[in-house]
Each structure stands twice: as C-alpha cells, then as structure tokens.
C-alpha cells in the first residue's frame, strides 16, 4: 500500500502551487481559483488523515470546508463583479486608489 506521507506530500505540493497562483497572477478570478486549489489540497490532507487514522471526522470536516469554499467563492466573485463595475479591469495593478 501507499504510505500516508505520499498523500501528504502531494497535497503540500498542490497547496504550494495554489500559493504560486495567488502570488503571481494578476487576474483576480485566477487568484480566486488558486485559493480554491489551496483549499482542495487541504481537503486531500483531511481525507488522507481520516483514512489512515480510521476516523470519520476528517470526512465530515471536508463537508464543512466545501460549504466554506462555496461561500467564499460566492462572495469573492460578487466582490469581483462590483470592483469590475468601477474599474472595468480585473488587474489589481490597475486599481488606482489602493496600491497593491
């Protein structure tokens, strides 16, 4: 069988890739998608732990993380829409009032 640390390393790598996206991308939607990717990496960690600890808790937690991710996506995209109405751009660099 595959040892637990394989799963954990994988999710750490995915998490870091998500962080890359947040740091380098200038398109707000992609930044948001990268954050979703990070949350998913965490989900993978939870599920892997739950399997190897034999406790269902991890799976239930992922339930809640999905709810949180959904709420964040809803609000994040709503904010993006309202920003876009003012700026007509998705590039944080082009926001004049607030320096990034």
């Amino acid at each position: 069988m595959i040892a637990l640390h394989n799963y954990l390393i994988l999710s750490a790598v995915i998490f870091s890739i998500g962080v890359i996206g947040v740091l380098i991308r200038r398109n707000l939607i992609v930044v948001l998608m990268s954050i979703e990717l990070m949350l998913n990496a965490v989900n993978l960690t939870f599920i892997a732990f739950s399997r190897y600890l034999g406790s269902t808790d991890g799976q239930v937690i992922v339930f809640f993380v999905m709810a949180v991710a959904a709420a964040e996506a809803v609000i994040g995209l709503a904010i993006i829409i309202s920003v876009y109405r003012h700026r007509q751009s998705l590039d944080p660099q082009e926001m004049q009032l607030l320096k990034w």
Binding site: L8, F15, G18, V19, V22, L28, V31, L32, I35, M38, L39, A41, V42, T45, F46, F49, L53, S55, D57, G58, I61, F64, V65, V68, A71, E72, I75, G76, A78, I79, I80, S82, V83, R85, H86, R87, P92, M95, L97, L98, K99, W100
Partner: protein
C-alpha cells in the same frame, strides 16, 4: 449526546435579531424610514447583553460535547463584541442613510458578524472556531464593500477578501495537520494529547501550530502580514472600519488566546521567539508609518497595527502573566477606538469622508464636544493617564517586566512615546488651526453623539476606576482552566 442549549443563548439571541432585521427590512417599502431596523438591532443586542450578565452569574457550561464553552472568557468577549456592534450601529444610523447603503443588510450583517465572533470566542473545537471565523469574515468582507457608489470601498473589499481567503487556506492547513497528529479537532482532546505525550510530538503538529499562527497573524494584521490593513481600513465605510479594528481584532485575539496561548501552550517554546520579533516589528512599524500619514483614518489604521503589536506582548509573555492584561487592554482599546471612529464618522459630508488632518482643523471651536471627546480618545490611545489606554498599557508592560521580558517593556514604552507625535497632531489641528470641515451637530446626527458619549464614559471609567474591569479580566481568563 448532550443537548444543553443554555450556553448558546447570547449567540442565538443575536442571530434571531439578525434574522428579524433581515425579514423586517423586506417588508418596508422603498423610501420609507428604516429607523425601526436599527432599533430592533439595538434591542436585540441589549437583550443579548442582559443574557450575558445573567449567564455570568450562573454556572458556566459547555454544550455539544464541550465543543462550545461559554465560560467567563467567552462571556467577556461576547460583551466586547456586543458593545462594538451596538456602538457601530449607533454611529452608523445617519451615515448609512447619507451614503445610500442598504440599511437592513448593513445592520443584519453587523449582527451576523457578531454571531460569528461570539462563536469564535466560545469555540472549543477547531471546526466550530473555523466556521465562526468564516461567518464573521464573510460578513465583514461584504460590509467593507457595501458602499457601492464608492470605488474605494469595493477595492478595499477585494483586497480584504483576497488576503482573508489566502489566510484561511493557511489556517485550514494548520487545522488539518493538527487533526492528523492528534486525531481530533476538539481542543480538550488536543490538549489532553499534548499533555499525555510530552515532547514526542510529530513535526507536522508543530508545523500545524505555526500555520495557525500565520493565519491568526493575518487576521490581526501583525507585521509581515499587515500590508492589507491600511488600504482596507481606509477604503471601508468608516463605521465598518471601527467595527473591524475593534471587534474583528478582538475575536481573532480571543481565539488566539484560547487556542494557541492556552490549549496549545505546551508547544509554546517553539514560537515564543518568532512572536517576540513579530510583536516588536508590529508596534514599531505601525507607529513609524502612522507618523507619515495625512489622513486620520489611515493614521488610525496604522495605529491599530501598532496596538496589535502591544496586544501581542501579553501573548509572548504567556499564560501565567499575559491573560489579565490582554483582556483588559482589549476592553480599553475597544472603547477608545470605537469612540475615535464614531467621531470620524460624524465628519462625513455627503459622499465624502472628511478624514484628513486639515478637515479636523478648528473642530474644537465648531463642535466642542466632539473635539473634546476626540482629544481624550487620542490621549488615551497614546497612553496618557488617567485614561483607559494608560491603565491598559501599564498592565501590559508590567506583565512583560514581571515575566522577565524587560526588553519588550522598554521597546513598548519607547513606542508609546513615539506614538504621541501623531496623536497630538490631531489635537493640535483641532484646537490650534482653522478651516476644515464642519462636522455634524447633535441635531443632525444625534446617535453618533450618543455613541461618542458612551465610548467616552467607558474610556474615562476604565482609566479612573479600573478595579472592577481588572477583576473581571482576571476571572475571565482564569475560567479557561
């Protein structure tokens, strides 16, 4: 399954109020007065406060397998949140109308955020804490961006949201690692695990603790993660800024105190040094940058970073000495900051927030009460006796000295001296310069005056007669045992 619902009372009270406000708002026609909504909110908050006092007298219990502990600690913080919410709503009544924001949603979201905060402070389970945090954060993101005709507001919301969601990722990863190491998210079980097997913890448990730390540092705006604070505070509608800088910060510190400082205290050794650096960097940078600001709102944002730095001192100091000053300082900080932001709110004219130093020029002659209050808040923030800020700082630095962190105390005092420069500048502007904005009279905005008066009373009371509050803080922190 134990179903003890009594401890949920304050949170449920606020939640029900929020639901009522949301629904009532839907059945008021456009153009009609929505004042009743603010009234409902305040009554609901008052009832919640009464329930908190009622519960303070009784036996403090946990609910839902002790995943929710409404002990004195949680009750203390619940009071701070309710106070902050009430003062915010009071000072926002006129502001919201003036800026054309949606009233019903504004009050409801403040109340929803308060529910999240109460849950956060009482959470004895990482998942309960996490969901409370998210409820609060999402409500506050929306509040930040609610002033839709103002481009800054939505951009501030964007920035706040991105930073917050990013921090959430780290926080959640930390929770995952802690869950993996201990097999549970319940803090009681986690701390039992930590005490059970001293020092044989897997590396990723300590790593998980650090990730939690990063998440918290983001939320309170401590230094390497502070860069969102000034812009967000500046862009957000002024009452919301006050709410953020007091309630959100207090909630984050409450969870920090319970989770990291108390329940995970066996892991302390690993993060005392990094925290020490963070604390010093936060207060110094906050104060230095505050000097260079031209807008009072932005200055207050940096000052709030600096205060996060002071608040980190008790956390570095640890459980033994840190509890009392942390709680007391948060209470004192709430009053003076909320007061300052209430005054700032009253300066708004139409769609413009008049928050530059020049706008405050001559306020001492135009609106003597507001100016006097503002002066006292500034003095208190700077730490002049006999005001709340002084007492708070005194106990914070005292705890640092007593626990042997003399260097922290010295740097803290030096920082306080530094901060006098920009706080006094406000007073100078108000009393020694002329021109500037008019501010509102009592007739134009009576509720702001009430809010300012309450905050002023609190500031003075905590400065002159701190004994009761100190006793409360001590017992509140003691209830974590």
């Amino acid at each position: 399954m134990d179903v003890n619902l009594v401890p949920l009372l304050p949170a449920v009270q606020v939640l029900v109020t929020a639901l009522v406000v949301t629904l009532r708002d839907l059945f008021i026609k456009d153009g009609e007065s929505r004042g009743v909504l603010a009234f409902y909110s305040l009554v609901g908050l008052g009832l919640a406060a009464a329930e908190v006092f009622f519960l303070l007298g009784g036996r403090q219990e946990g609910a839902f397998n002790d995943s929710y502990m409404l002990d004195r600690f949680a009750l203390f913080f619940a009071l701070i949140f309710i106070l902050a919410a009430a003062l915010t709503i009071l000072s926002a009544i006129d502001y919201v109308r003036q800026t054309g924001m949606r009233e019903g949603e504004f009050y409801a979201l403040i109340l929803f955020a308060t529910v999240g905060m109460i849950v956060m402070a009482a959470a004895n389970d990482l998942m309960v804490f996490f969901l409370g945090l998210e409820t609060m954060s999402i409500a506050v993101y929306v509040l930040t961006g609610m002033w839709r005709s103002n481009g800054r507001s939505s951009e501030a919301a964007m920035k706040y949201f991105l930073m917050g969601a990013f921090a959430t990722g780290f926080l959640l990863y930390g929770i995952a690692l802690i869950y993996g190491a201990t097999g549970s998210t319940n803090l009681a079980q986690i701390s039992a695990y930590l005490l059970d097997q001293p020092s044989e913890w897997p590396v990723y448990l300590i790593g998980g603790g650090f990730l939690l730390l990063i998440g918290f540092a983001f939320k309170v705006g401590a230094v390497p993660f502070h860069f969102w604070v000034p812009d967000v505070y500046e862009g957000a509608p002024t009452p919301v800024t006050g709410f953020m800088s007091v309630a959100v910060k207090a909630a984050a510190f409450a969870a920090w105190a319970r989770i990291l400082l108390y329940k995970l205290s066996p892991l302390d050794n690993d993060w005392v040094f990094p925290l020490w650096i963070i604390a010093i960097a936060t207060m110094t940078l906050g104060n230095l940058l505050a000097i260079t600001q031209h807008s009072i709102k932005r200055m207050l944002a940096y000052s709030s970073i600096a205060h996060a730095g002071y608040l980190l001192i008790p956390i570095v100091v640890g459980v033994e000495w840190g509890g009392l000053p942390l709680l007391f300082y948060l209470l004192a900080y709430s009053f003076m900051t909320l007061g300052a932001f209430a005054v700032l709110t009253s300066m708004t004219e139409g769609d413009e927030s008049k928050d530059g130093y020049s706008d405050f020029a001559g306020l001492g002659f135009k609106r003597p009460f507001l100016a006097l209050a503002m002066a006292l808040f500034m003095l208190s923030l700077a730490g002049f006796p006999p005001l709340a800020g002084f007492t708070g700082k005194f106990y914070v630095f005292r705890s640092a000295v007593l626990s042997g962190h003399l260097n922290l105390a010295i740097i803290g005092v030096l920082n306080s001296l530094l901060s006098v420069i920009f706080y006094l500048r406000v007073i100078v502007a108000m009393y020694m310069e002329e021109g500037g904005a008019a501010g509102k009279s009592f007739r134009q905005a009576p509720f702001v005056y009430i809010a300012v008066a309450i905050a002023l009373l609190g500031t003075i009371y905590l400065g002159i007669l701190p004994a009761d509050a100190l006793d409360w803080s001590r017992r509140a922190f003691g209830s974590l045992e």
